[in-house]
Amino acid sequence: MTNGLDRYSVMQEPDLKAPVDFNRRRRLKHTDRAFKAQIINVIRLTDMEKLFQIRIMDQAQRERFTFRPGQFVMVEVPGYGEIPISISCSSSAKGYIELCIRKAGMVTTMLHKARRGAVVGLRGPFGTEFPMESMVGHDVLLIAGGLGLAPLRAPIYHVIENRADFRDVHILYGTKEPSQLLFDYQYDEWRRIDGIDLRVIVEKPDEKWNGPVGMITKLMDDILVDPGRTFAIVCGPPVMFKFVCARLTKMGLPMQRMFVSLERRMHCGMGKCCRCNVGSTFTCVDGPVFDYWSVINLMEAI
């Protein structure tokens, strides 16, 4: 009788004994370990969207959790599922995030039923970031359509918190109807900041609306851009950033200085499930932030 084969336990790998840190991409980790995180506040934004303020519960995990504007997390609602959501807040607080979530599917419907104090899971952060450092010393155009303001809010906060690093800042935002405007309680605050020009437009005004009416590109009509010193971030549905980026190109902005955030189905966030495949890349690891030159080369992206 011979001895059996040697048993290998992946748990003996030193890397797996270290705390899970998704920022260390190459290190072996418990890839499906979710950080327990508590919903601190639920803020109703519109009939369809709520803002969830969430804090990682474990002190040490909270210290390690840092992200960059543009990145996303996988939100786990145990028993229901896991979904990719872009982080919608300032990146300066550790282990604390805000997620603007539209009620769209099973998991988000359950989240919309959740009350403060509920415990969800978080994995991440994942994906690429808006290159805020490269934008230092430049004019910045921040353009969002519809739910696109959710991912755009992270670079907006970054610009506000580091206002002295940037030249002129324009925030352009458009939705179909006034009732769909997100974070409307913050517009006044943003407008009061020196050198921030916020413009909001809707396609279908109601009787109370007295702002501009039309497509988002209309807001770009009287903005003077110096193509040599301007960066743009565009978030929104593909059809919207197609038009906006075409307009920016016409204004002379190079495509390598326009950044968009793509949306795709995702089940892992780690380049494994293939569901976010665009052309030859994966949105979760090579994106969601792409420069526009890459986007048009990906063929399928828009």
Binding site: M1, T2, N3, G4, L5, D6, R7, Y8, S9, V10, M11, E13, L16, R25, R26, R27, L28, K29, H30, T31, D32, R33, A34, K36, P78, G79, Y80, G81, E82, I83, R102, A104, G105, T108, G117, A118, V119, G121, E263, R264, R265, H267, C268, M270, G271, K272, C273, C274, R275, N277, G279, S280, T281, V285, M299, E300
Partner: protein
């Protein structure tokens, strides 16, 4: 590479010994299909006689021993509004006997995806490191085009690799685990005659392959034929059933779903192998489908295999086993599709 010879009765002794203590998986004849052809499947065996080392091909690849169709990623236990997540990894050693070179090459590609670069998978690693692989050379299988893809031979990724040279096997030893296995039985040193017999056998095997496609410049072909009518033609035949990805030794995409127990005390996060040909592959919340057309989905499967994977890993994902071609009811198969795309370029 270290080479030894192993008499056939010694292989039987080795495998029988392994069966006493550990799981041995091998190609087993499970039934005949409607044309009377044998149907083989990799499955656990407890008697050496059940293993058919002369099999032509298996319907399913050995991939699913590493990426199971269904795999529990974690389990949540609920307690009064709170929950705990439990994760367990595979820990059982096992042996897979009789993998062909194409399938071992397929594993090497999966190794690139799941053990290197970013986010290595502990789930995959746990299964891979617990598996002894004994491969075997074989004459060309029905429809296989592995020689075109350069995957009819393999130089790593196995513990032992056997080539039949008559009354014995010429054995390549690929790891110290393989070397240690050989110490359980009598192996012989390689003589000049053995080496000659091996080279002759290799030449005979090489001759048995018919080159079925020219793999030159495939990434460029995929780009140039992006909007080709060829995709429309094959796409109109595609049933979007996903069989190709299920039998493919390298397709690795998946779906994740969660299932609550009947007593509401726990739930299971389940990973299921998927296919990019299924209609909801790229469907997102709100109802938008990024790939609603079947010809587009079919095209992107090829695009990933012959373009995207090359870009990120330096070689095509396809290893030329033609399992997808055999499984496809309308007969969509890589050699025909690629030949037709190449014909487009010449017209």
């Amino acid at each position: 590479m270290l080479f030894v010879t192993l008499k056939k009765d010694q292989l039987e002794k080795l495998v029988t010994g392994l069966m006493e203590t550990d799981e041995v998986i091998g190609p087993k004849l499970v039934q005949k299909n409607k044309d009377g052809k044998p149907v083989h499947k990799f499955m656990p065996v407890d008697n050496f006689a059940e293993i058919d080392l002369l099999y032509d091909h298996t319907i399913y690849s050995a991939k699913n021993l590493f990426l199971p169709y269904k795999e529990e990623l974690s389990r949540f236990r609920f307690d009064d509004g709170d929950w705990e997540q439990e994760i367990t990894y595979w820990e059982k050693p096992r042996v897979i006997l009789g993998m062909h070179a194409c399938d071992i090459n397929a594993l090497l590609r999966l190794d690139k995806v799941f053990t290197r670069d970013f986010y290595p998978s502990p789930y995959y690693l746990a299964r891979r490191r617990n598996t002894i692989i004994i491969g075997i050379d074989h004459m060309a299988c029905e429809g296989g085009f592995c020689r075109s893809m350069g995957t009819d031979t393999v130089d790593r990724g196995f513990d032992l690799f056997l080539t039949d040279i008559g009354d014995r096997y010429f054995v390549a030893v690929g790891s110290d685990a393989g070397y240690n296995l050989l110490r359980r039985v009598e192996s012989g040193e390689v003589t000049d005659d053995d080496r000659r017999a091996y080279i002759e056998m290799r030449m005979e095997i090489a001759k048995s392959f018919v080159t079925r496609l020219d793999p030159q410049n495939l990434p460029n072909l995929m780009d140039l034929q992006f909007g080709s009518a060829v995709w429309k033609r094959w796409g109109s035949m595609c049933l979007s059933c996903g069989s190709c990805a299920m039998v493919c030794p390298t397709c690795y995409c998946y779906d994740v779903s969660e299932h609550i127990s009947m007593d509401f005390t726990q739930s299971c996060k389940l990973k299921t192998q998927y296919s990019c040909n299924l209609v909801d592959f790229a469907l997102v919340a709100g109802g938008h489908n990024f790939r609603p057309d079947r010809e587009k989905r079919l095209m992107y499967r090829y695009y990933h295999h012959f373009r995207g994977f090359v870009e990120s890993n330096g070689e095509p994902m396809c290893v030329g086993c033609n399992r997808c071609g055999r499984a496809c009811l309308p007969g969509i198969n890589p050699p025909d599709v690629i030949r037709e795309l190449q014909a487009q370029e010449r017209t």
